[in-house]
């Protein structure tokens, strides 16, 4: 098995970063690595959604889980727990990869999204997210999201964006044979 780099999207002050080709039956797993993601707006979510029509619409039903651990630079608070505000229950909106991201010049997000067998026309499409971010209030937060696109149509495009405002950053898509 090998992991092959398929596409690199380098964004500068972009409203979204879409992958609208190469997501097909060639690979069983698609891996999206993102780093140096810097939001233009403070305190927003970095999110993604999948499309079943090549990117014309990003509104696939998702059910997901989301939990996180966090720790403030000033050591004022630290904890972990489930965050019911970041999950979806058959929602068609965007799934957060990171929440409450900071937009200072040196603040960023990094992580990985795995999507399993997106071209299946039999099963729902599972995904797993792991990420780390600089929180808007100067804290570190590690996030764990997982869920599925609840559709038997093939997912053939994926889009990333902030919940509000633009962003800079690098997102790479790999295929795992």
């Amino acid at each position: 098995m090998t992991m092959k780099l398929l596409t690199t999207n380098t964004s500068s002050n972009a409203s979204a970063s879409a992958f609208t080709s190469s997501i097909d039956s060639t690979y069983k797993v698609y891996v999206f690595k993102f780093y140096d993601i810097n939001a233009a707006t403070d305190g927003v979510q970095f999110t993604f959604q999948g499309s079943t029509d090549g990117g014309s619409n990003y509104n696939t039903a998702i059910t997901s889980t989301y939990f996180a651990s966090y720790h403030y630079e000033g050591d004022s608070d630290a904890d972990m727990g489930y965050d019911g505000g970041q999950d979806l229950a058959q929602g068609t909106g965007y799934q957060p990869l990171c929440n409450d991201v900071g937009n200072d010049a040196d603040q960023s997000e990094a992580g990985v999204l795995y999507i399993f067998a997106p071209s299946s026309t039999t099963f729902a499409k599972n995904f797993i997210v792991k990420s780390n971010q600089c929180g808007a209030g100067d804290y570190t937060q590690e996030q764990f999201a997982a869920g599925y696109f609840n559709t038997t149509s093939a997912i053939n495009a994926v889009n990333f964006k902030m919940s509000s405002g633009n962003f800079d950053g690098t997102i790479k898509m790999y295929g795992v044979a």
Binding site: K4, H71, V112, Y139, Q141, E142
Partner: protein
């Protein structure tokens, strides 16, 4: 859905150095050392570096396995970091199972070493294993994010599953990393460094 059989390909373990995940260096520790450092190969060539460690056996009982990073090629390992640490555990007896945040094992703008695993036992059959991901260490604009997961037999004979995340709070490029036990030597172990294109 667990990663299952795909994990090897995704995470880049031995034997998967083809294509865009490249094995860069292996530190094979066969006799006791105080630390295991990678002082070359951490550059802008790769956007992500993955460190796989396994068979990490401490010379001293009940210590921490930990790492720090350097911005001067390994002369100093004292970069400011803020981190999280939570852990699942279960005793061999079946008691004490649970998951919780551990305040004493994180850092808040600390310059000391980041704990990857705590309370390692040093019985002959005990060892720590896991992986650490470090993102774009060569950036001179942003902080450097990392996260890790490690499993350890606790010195009191229970399983620990440790999750850490955080960032090196510097805009200088990170160009070296060192692993050590909090006290005593690393008896034996193996650490591999991979680059992800």
């Amino acid at each position: 859905m667990p990663l299952g059989a795909n994990k090897a390909a995704i995470m880049g373990v031995a034997g998967v150095s083809k294509a865009d995940v490249v094995l860069l260096a292996t530190n094979n520790i066969t006799s006791a050392v105080s630390a295991s450092a990678f002082t070359s190969g951490i550059t802008s060539t790769y956007g992500e570096y993955i460190f796989k460690f396994y068979g990490m056996h401490p010379a001293t009982d009940d210590v921490y396995f930990e790492f720090n990073v350097s911005i001067d090629g390994g002369s100093n390992y004292n970069v400011t970091k803020t981190t999280t640490f939570f852990q699942g555990q279960n005793a061999e007896s079946g008691s004490e199972g649970g998951v919780a945040y551990k305040n004493g094992d994180d850092l808040a703008q600390g310059t000391g070493y980041v704990r990857l695993a705590t309370n390692l036992g040093n019985d002959a059959d005990q060892q720590c294993a896991g992986e650490l991901h470090l993102f774009n260490p060569a950036s001179t604009t942003f902080v450097k994010h990392f996260y890790s997961r490690a499993v350890t037999p606790h010195s009191a004979n229970y399983a620990n599953d440790a999750f850490i995340g955080g960032y090196a709070n510097t805009t200088s490029a990170v160009n070296a990393i060192s692993f050590q036990m909090s006290s005593g030597n690393i008896d034996v172990g193996k650490i591999k460094m991979w680059g992800v294109k």
